[in-house]
């Protein structure tokens, strides 16, 4: 483990700003995914939430640790997103923050542990199982890939890249599934044939994590 590629508070801030950018860019895509099997608000909700996160980062004093950044994000999402995604992502970032403690930097194992904590928080809150066609279907493979990478000695950016790639694959794999949790479950078999919006937004969030991490060490 080399501290040269560990992730610091500055990275956490960049990750969140990049997430806000990607979510804004994909706002309509996420709305449209939710329109087909939900209620057409997922992109709007996340855009509102991460716009508020950026405003909070701009106006607050710079947080001192990565955990402090993620806690601020958690509280902001919780109070601005609403819907199912607000409490779920809120819990995810809160648990992720807790897993980091007051460490100044995030090493590869801590990165993997952070992702697992987020994922476990979502499962604890929403009680979805893998295959229920929710964001859990992106977070779970992301967690597993991140842990495998960390165990194999990958750098922190590599761990996040593995997580992001697995999340994207997991989101794609929700397409044929029949939803059993959340609003899409009311559609029964008609929910099959469309990707889950929360799984797709999860992939965007983890992709932003990986890209900002890689850039930091490019």
């Amino acid at each position: 483990m080399s501290m040269a590629d560990a992730l610091d508070t500055e990275w956490a801030v960049r990750w969140m700003r990049e997430t806000a950018r990607v979510v804004a860019e994909n706002r309509v895509l996420l709305i449209n995914l939710d329109r087909v099997i939900g209620d057409a608000d997922h992109g709007e909700n996340l855009d509102r939430g991460f716009t508020a996160v950026v405003a909070k980062l701009d106006s607050s004093e710079a947080p001192e640790t990565p955990a402090a950044v993620l806690k601020l994000v958690a509280m902001t999402l919780m109070s601005t997103v609403g819907g199912a995604a607000g409490p779920l992502y809120g819990t995810a970032f809160l648990r992720a923050a807790t897993s980091l403690g007051d460490a100044a930097e995030i090493d590869p194992n801590a990165a993997a542990a952070m992702i697992r904590a987020a994922r476990d928080g979502i499962v604890a809150r929403g009680k979805a199982e893998i295959g229920d066609k929710t964001m859990v279907d992106a977070w779970t493979p992301a967690t597993e890939s991140a842990e495998t990478a960390a165990q194999a000695g990958a750098t922190a950016p590599e761990v996040l890249t593995a997580a992001a790639n697995a999340a994207h694959a997991g989101a794609g794999a929700t397409e044929p599934l029949i939803a059993r949790k959340g609003r899409a479950s009311y559609l029964g078999e008609r929910s099959a044939g469309h990707q889950d919006p929360g799984a797709v937004s999860t992939a965007f969030i983890l992709q932003a994590a990986a890209e900002t991490a890689r850039e930091l060490f490019a």
Partner: protein, 333 residues
């Protein structure tokens, strides 16, 4: 889709602001975080009733704030559950010392946000109970879903639990009455044409000129299945049958019936449906003791309707009849 709005993101704030001006005698609007309370809140010694959910279902919930019904309403963004930071101050604002009941429609988002808020409010020393409204019989197989949705039955829970609170029942008592209503109320809806969420700008789903969506929810989400267009009597029968079956309505039962417009349906069509409901229930020797026909829980400008039936006993009926004074439901006052 044209709408009488300004900025799509300001729809809820501006509309609640207008609501507050129009009904300044009844309610107070708290702008940030946004919630609406009864003008005279907190009523000392009375159990406070808080409900909320995504906006776009007006008059639900703000239209039901006032004497004999809700103490506070918490509006989220359009079709999006409100956040705990709205629900918590609404809860504390209406706590008159006797505790607060949260009336929550059974959607993942509503459940999670109210759950968090209840925890936090309890930590601040407010006794909080919750009831989950889940009256939509369209969701057939509750093992493989997030459970039944809460729809029109919410109006009945808010009214009757509100009356119990006004009567002076304690928190356990009001909760028990609310739960009794939840257990006795069922609904089913139909859409003829979709609504358009302001920030989305395109209809939530497409229906052909000869198709209707049976089992529609109130969030512009698609229903359970599509069928070819039918006449009003046929559609009414399709909504009524599963309700009658689920409630096991039988000869001699007494009910309150609501035929509810989804926002874009003329009153005349709702009365045509009500006529058929009355005929069919009459055929079953089931009595309609009271009724509501109109827009009570809508989905923006969706074209369609829902049917809600509550089986009542004498106590529920008396609570129903007690004075209520809100923007959208008023009698005896």
């Amino acid at each position: 889709m044209k709408k009488l709005i300004n900025d799509p993101r300001a729809v809820v704030n501006e509309s609640v602001e207008g609501f507050g001006i129009a009904h300044a005698d009844l309610v107070t609007v708290h702008p940030d975080p946004l919630f609406i309370t009864r003008k005279d809140a907190p009523v000392q010694g009375k159990v406070g009733l808080v409900s909320g959910g995504g906006s776009g279902h007006e008059p639900l919930h703000a239209g039901f704030v006032g004497r004999g019904m809700l103490d506070a309403a918490v509006p989220g963004a359009v079709f999006t559950s409100p956040t705990p930071d709205q629900i918590i101050p609404a809860t504390t604002a209406v706590n008159g010392g006797a505790g607060v009941l949260h009336i929550v429609k059974n959607y993942t988002g509503d459940v999670l946000n109210f759950e968090t808020a209840a925890e936090m409010a309890e930590a601040e020393g407010v006794a909080v109970r919750s009831v989950l409204v889940n009256d939509d019989v369209a969701v057939e197989d509750s093992l493989y879903t997030a459970g039944r949705r809460g729809v029109g039955g919410t109006v009945f829970v808010e009214r009757i639990a509100g009356a119990a609170a006004e009567r002076g029942d304690d928190l356990d008592g009001v909760t028990a009455v609310a739960q009794r209503v939840v257990d006795s109320v069922r609904s089913m809806g139909v859409a003829l044409a979709a609504c358009t969420v302001p920030h989305a700008g395109v209809p939530s789903f497409d229906l052909a000129e000869d198709e209707i969506e049976i089992g529609i929810g109130i969030h512009g989400e698609p229903g359970r299945h599509r069928i070819a267009m039918e006449d009003a009597d046929g559609i009414t029968q399709r909504l009524l049958d599963p309700i009658v079956a689920d409630l096991s309505l039988t000869s001699g039962d007494r009910t309150i019936v609501m035929v509810n417009g989804m926002g874009g349906t003329p009153a005349s069509e709702l009365y045509i449906m009500f006529r058929k409901v009355a005929q069919l229930l009459d055929g079953l020797s089931v009595t309609i003791e009271r009724s509501l026909v109109g827009n009570y829980i809508t989905a923006l400008e969706m074209q369609g309707a829902s049917l809600t039936i509550l089986r009542v006993d004498q106590e529920m009926l008396e609570l129903w009849d007690s004075p209520v004074h809100t923007a959208a439901l008023r009698w005896g006052a």
